[in-house]
Every structure is written in structure tokens, then in C-alpha cells.
């Protein structure tokens, strides 16, 4: 029972985990990205289309990454090079993603593919209770584990990571040290967006191997809220994403058990829970534990005097 619930938790949390990690990379560079929801859809459709055309899941994941990277680079160009309003540009990206995937997804509705299958990791999967849920999963879930560590390593153990964090905290200082601020920001937005796309691909290649219009169903927005809960750390993003996976798993479990509570009410739980978590983490941040990148949301112009 616990194993089944944990397993469902990990599977429901993984798309949100990828999306949160991608959003963290954006925000660490100082750029708010509210296009996460749209990017997930673009990733989901691109991944599904590429897999159903090529028959290869790997090509699907790459396509999802590239498509979301390109779409995200539009947000990057507008907010970094053109110093446009980040909130409006992100909303535009989400709207564009919802619309474009509805348009191009028409021909994909009803198709099926062979989705990701479970790969058992010998040894680790024998650990009682947590073995099966974490180490008898599909390749994308293992990729998400690797990313959590890789991103933390990148930010805290490499020069480029340090430079990127500085760009998000104090772009003028980074500029003085010869860090190309705009290039770092643009790349962070693009690559972060690509990772969000993989989260979308998880929905259409692993969770339910098919394309459904608007299949991200607000997960992108939950990810945006989780970034604050995670205080911009990839480890805490893992915890946050599984917390939500857990809520979703329990809600599905309730429905399967034939509870008398309306399905509509149960479906509200993840959103209500996100709001609660966001409020609690904001209050906590306000009490001085703030990790928020100092220049988040502000365009950088070398000529501006502060």
C-alpha cells in the first residue's frame, strides 16, 4: 500500500519536478518565466509528435527539449535583449503555447504510442519500501534525479554557476567582472525552458502515452509557485514536487476507492494545497530567510544608474 502510493507520488511529481527545475534556472538568472504552463504543453506535443513519427522515445525527449528551448528563447529575447515586461511576456508565452498546441495537436488526437517502460535498477530496487517507488521507474525519472544533483552542482561548484547566480543577484557587479550578463540570462531562460519541455514530454510519453489538448492542466502554474516554496534550490524542488505528487496520488486513490466526495472537489486539492504552501513559504521568506535572487524581475540596462 505505502509502496503503491509512493510509486504514484513519484510518477505524478516528476513532470512538476522538471518544470520546477527549469523555472529555477530561469529565476536564478533573474528572469521570471510565467510561460511554464505553455512550455510544458509545447514539450508534451513536440515529444509526442516526434515519437509517433520516429518511433523513438529518445528522439521524442530531444524534440520536446528543443521545441520548448526555442519557444523559451522568444521569452528570453523579449525580456533580456528587449527588456520587455517579464510578466506579460511569460503570460503571452503560456497563451501562445496553449493555442499553438491546440492547433497542431489536432492531427495527434487519438493516436497512441508505446510509452516509457520501467527499468529496474538492480540492488537499489531491493531496498524495502523506497526501493521500488524510486528505483523501479522509467528512464525519465532517473534523468530527473540526475538533474537535481547536476543543477545543484552547477550552481555551487562551477564558475559558470557562480557567474549565473551573480547575474541574478547583482547584474551590474557581474558586468563589472566581465560576465556577459545578457548572454547568461538568455541562455538560462532558453535551457531552463527546454528542461520544462521535458516535464511536458513526461506527461505525453510516460504518464499517459497520448496527446490530450491542454493536458498540463495547471501543473506549470503549480511549478511556478513551487519555485518559491523551494527557495530556488533544486533539492527542495524535489521535495516540493513529490509533496504535490503525493496529494495527486492520494486524490486519485480516493477516487478509485469510490468515495462519495465529488471528483471536482478532490481535483481542487492540489491547487488549494499550492496556495497554502505558497503563503506559508512567503511568510517564512519574509522572516529573513530569503533566498530570492535580488534582481528577479528587473531588466538590466548597463546605462541605468541605480
Amino acid at each position: 500500500m505505502v509502496e503503491i502510493l509512493l510509486d504514484a507520488t513519484v510518477r505524478a511529481g516528476t513532470p512538476i519536478l522538471f518544470a520546477t527545475l527549469g523555472a529555477i534556472i530561469n529565476e536564478r538568472a533573474g528572469i521570471i518565466n510565467l510561460g511554464i504552463e505553455g512550455l510544458m504543453l509545447i514539450g508534451a506535443l513536440a515529444g509526442f509528435a516526434a515519437t509517433s513519427l520516429s518511433g523513438s522515445l529518445l528522439i521524442g525527449v530531444i524534440a520536446a527539449f528543443v521545441a520548448a528551448l526555442l519557444a523559451g528563447s522568444v521569452h528570453g529575447f523579449i525580456t533580456v535583449q528587449l527588456r520587455g515586461n517579464q510578466i506579460v511576456s511569460g503570460l503571452a508565452l503560456t497563451m501562445f503555447g496553449i493555442g499553438i498546441t491546440a492547433l497542431f495537436g489536432r492531427s495527434m488526437v487519438g493516436l497512441t504510442i508505446a510509452g516509457f517502460e520501467r527499468l529496474t535498477i538492480p540492488g537499489l530496487s531491493m531496498i524495502p519500501v523506497i526501493g521500488k517507488p524510486f528505483f523501479n521507474q522509467d528512464a525519465l525519472i532517473y534523468l530527473s534525479f540526475v538533474l537535481v544533483f547536476a543543477i545543484a552542482f552547477f550552481f555551487y561548484r562551477t564558475r559558470w554557476g557562480l557567474a549565473l547566480r551573480t547575474v541574478g543577484e547583482n547584474p551590474a557587479a557581474a558586468d563589472t567582472c566581465g560576465v556577459p550578463v545578457n548572454l547568461y540570462r538568455f541562455l538560462a531562460v532558453s535551457i531552463g525552458s527546454g528542461i520544462v519541455g521535458i516535464g511536458g514530454a513526461y506527461l505525453s510519453l510516460a504518464s499517459t502515452p497520448m496527446w490530450i489538448e491542454n493536458m498540463s492542466a495547471g501543473r506549470g502554474w503549480i511549478a511556478v509557485a513551487l519555485v518559491i516554496f523551494a527557495s530556488w534550490s533544486s533539492y527542495r524542488a524535489l521535495a516540493g514536487a513529490y509533496l504535490f505528487g503525493g496529494i495527486t496520488a492520494m486524490q486519485l486513490r480516493f477516487q478509485a476507492m469510490g468515495t462519495t466526495i465529488s471528483a471536482h472537489i478532490l481535483q481542487m486539492l492540489p491547487y488549494i494545497f499550492t496556495i497554502l504552501v505558497l503563503v506559508i513559504s512567503t511568510v517564512r521568506l519574509a522572516k529573513g530567510a530569503s533566498q530570492q535572487p535580488e534582481s528577479l524581475g528587473q531588466p538590466y540596462d548597463r546605462e541605468d544608474r541605480k
Binding site: G84, S89, M95, F96, G99, A102, L103, T282
Partner: protein, 356 residues
């Protein structure tokens, strides 16, 4: 040689005024390519949009029918924008407003037409206002990000209305469709010219006038603008910014809530699943395109109404998904942001070495 951007000393007024229109034109152009990819002839599609939406008195009346909720929601969102507050939750506020009005219409038993409409209006106003007020309270008290809260509450509001129309409020004689019983005649707006155009449209215009007067002729409107442009100065001047944030979000949601009232009283005559096909999201674009003016909201709402009516007809004749309109709206916003840059900066090719 390289491109450099330098700040303009002063931007041309003509350029500033024409930017939204140019953005829409460029978006139409780019969306044309998307349509070609989707196997639709863009020229024919665009002609059809304008013919359907403006080419006949019926088409025009349908456009005004769609313009109505957009004006309310657009006014609501733009009111909050004035204070640099982002109300992304107009969609949910429309649903809650529609729910409040329907609750009165279905269960109050009021017989008098005007008392009934007044009660429905008040219920919609309060429900929409309180729904947004939650975000306002959280923002004012703990600086919780209102973008995320208002947006997440959209999902909750839509699910809540679904719960009602699939469950306790479902019409027992409705053949199991997700809708409530029809409202009595007392709870319905008048319709005009044998079309679906209803009193809500005139209420929306009146509302735009009130908002204009509120913003330009009252001390509260002035405070909102000051808090929006310079919160520090506002605080020194003794303005209560926290209270103002709550009130503005409440009012913003209340006006969006009236859109829900107008939809159920004027058009649907009942509460049902999917009463707003995204008016609340379109309202964000309207507010941004209209910049700071209530009159602008009315004009842009009409433009978007044309687009929605045209989009509906494309859906029928070309099987295009309704959501395609979102892609188009996203493009408009992208180009509008880009044009803002060219209003503020001049781009020049600078000769010489890259380090120059």
C-alpha cells in the same frame, strides 16, 4: 560592426499611439504562417473573420455580445494594473460572479424584476470581489505573489462551478447535462433588435464611464495611480497602501464578477459548465493593450470580440480549435512588448571594433 541600442530622449507620440495597431497587424501576418502550416489559407480565413464578425447586422450583434463580458473583465484587470497589481484571475472571478448571480436567481424566489436584478448584481459583485480579495488580503498582509494566487484560484473556481452544475444544482429535468434549471423571467435582461444583444452591453459601457470618472475625477483614483507609480512616495504621503491593495483587488474582481452576472442574466439564463471560454485571460491582453484608459478597454474589447466571433466561425468552417485564438493573442502581446522597446530605444549599427 555591431548593433547597439540607445535610449531615445523623447519618443514620438505617433509611434506610441500606433504601436498597438502595428503589433496586431504583425501578429496577423505571423499567425498567417501558422495557419498555412495547419493547412488553412490565411487570406480566406481573415476575410471570413471580418465578414462574419462585422459583415452583417447579426454578426455585429454577436460581436457586441462577446464584447460585453470582455469590457467588464478588461476594466477589472486594468484597474488593478494601474496600481501595478496583476489580477490574472478574472476568469475565476467571472465564474464566481456567475455563481453568485445564479444562486440568487435560482433560490431567492424574488418576483420583482428590478429587485431580482439588483440582488443578482450585488451577489455577483461580492462573490467576484471576495474571490479576488483573498489574493488582495494575502498580498497586502504578507506580500504573497498575487499573480500565482489569482491564477491558481481560476482552477478552483471553475471546478467549484462544475461541482455545482454536475451535482447539487443540476437541473433534474436537464437530461443529465451539466446545467442548472432556467432562470425565471424576472432574472433575465431585455434583449434588443431580435438578436442576442442584451442590456449587459449598455451596463458595460456605463461601467466603463464610471471607472473613467473614478480614476480621473476622484481622490481614490489619484491614490491608486500614485501607489502604482511610486509606492514609497505614497507611503510618505500617508496613503494606506495595504488597504488600497486589498480594495483595488476586491473592486477588480467585483467588476470581473459582473461579467459573470451579465452572462447568466443576459445570455445563458442558467449556470452551466464552461460559461466563460477564457474571457478572463483575454481581459489581460485587453488591459495591457488599452494601457491606461477605460475608453481604450472598450475599443480593444470590441477588437477582441471581432476576433472571437471570427474564431468561432473558423472553428465551424475549418475545424480550427477555439484555443487557436490564444496563440494569436500571445503573438499580439509579444509584438507589443517588442514595439515598446523600439519606442524607448533607437537601434543603430555602430562601426568599428567590437570593444568600441
Amino acid at each position: 560592426m555591431r548593433l547597439i541600442a540607445e535610449k531615445r530622449e523623447n519618443s514620438s507620440r505617433l509611434f506610441r499611439f500606433s504601436a498597438p495597431f502595428v503589433s496586431v497587424l504583425i501578429a496577423l501576418f505571423v499567425a498567417g504562417f501558422l495557419l498555412i502550416f495547419a493547412g488553412v489559407n490565411p487570406g480566406e480565413a481573415y476575410v471570413e473573420i471580418f465578414r462574419e464578425a462585422l459583415g452583417s447586422s447579426y454578426g455585429l450583434s454577436e460581436t457586441l455580445v462577446k464584447t460585453t463580458p470582455l469590457i467588464f473583465a478588461g476594466l477589472g484587470v486594468s484597474l488593478a494594473f494601474r496600481m501595478q497589481i496583476w489580477n490574472i484571475g478574472a476568469e475565476g472571478q467571472i465564474y464566481m460572479g456567475a455563481m453568485g448571480a445564479s444562486w440568487v436567481a435560482l433560490f431567492s424566489g424574488i418576483q420583482n424584476h428590478w429587485i431580482m436584478l439588483a440582488a443578482m448584481f450585488s451577489a455577483a459583485f461580492c462573490c467576484g470581489g471576495l474571490w479576488a480579495g483573498v489574493a488582495g488580503f494575502l498580498r497586502a498582509k504578507w506580500r504573497v505573489n498575487e499573480v500565482i494566487i489569482t491564477l491558481l484560484m481560476n482552477y478552483i473556481a471553475i471546478l467549484w462551478v462544475d461541482y455545482l452544475v454536475y451535482g447539487p444544482w443540476k437541473d433534474p429535468k436537464g437530461f443529465n447535462f451539466p446545467l442548472t434549471a432556467q432562470f425565471s423571467d424576472a432574472a433575465r435582461f431585455s434583449e434588443y433588435f431580435d438578436t442576442r444583444l442584451h442590456s449587459g452591453f449598455f451596463l458595460a459601457l456605463f461601467c466603463a464611464l464610471l471607472i473613467y470618472l473614478f480614476m480621473e475625477r476622484t481622490i481614490w483614483g489619484y491614490e491608486i495611480k500614485v501607489i502604482g507609480s511610486n509606492p514609497k512616495a505614497a507611503q510618505y504621503a500617508g496613503m494606506k497602501t495595504g488597504m488600497a491593495i486589498f480594495l483595488v483587488l476586491f473592486l477588480s474582481g467585483a467588476i470581473a464578477g459582473i461579467a459573470g452576472f451579465s452572462e447568466v442574466a443576459g445570455l445563458q439564463h442558467r449556470l452551466q459548465h464552461g460559461i466563460s471560454p477564457g474571457y478572463g485571460y483575454t481581459a489581460i491582453i485587453i488591459a495591457w493593450l488599452a494601457k491606461r484608459s477605460a475608453l481604450g478597454v472598450v475599443i480593444v474589447s470590441f477588437l477582441m470580440g471581432v476576433l472571437l466571433v471570427g474564431g468561432d466561425s473558423l472553428q465551424i468552417s475549418w475545424q480550427l480549435p477555439v484555443a487557436f485564438v490564444y496563440a494569436f493573442q500571445g503573438l499580439i502581446l509579444f509584438f507589443l512588448l517588442a514595439s515598446d522597446f523600439f519606442i524607448q530605444y533607437r537601434v543603430r549599427l555602430k562601426g568599428g571594433r567590437a570593444n568600441g
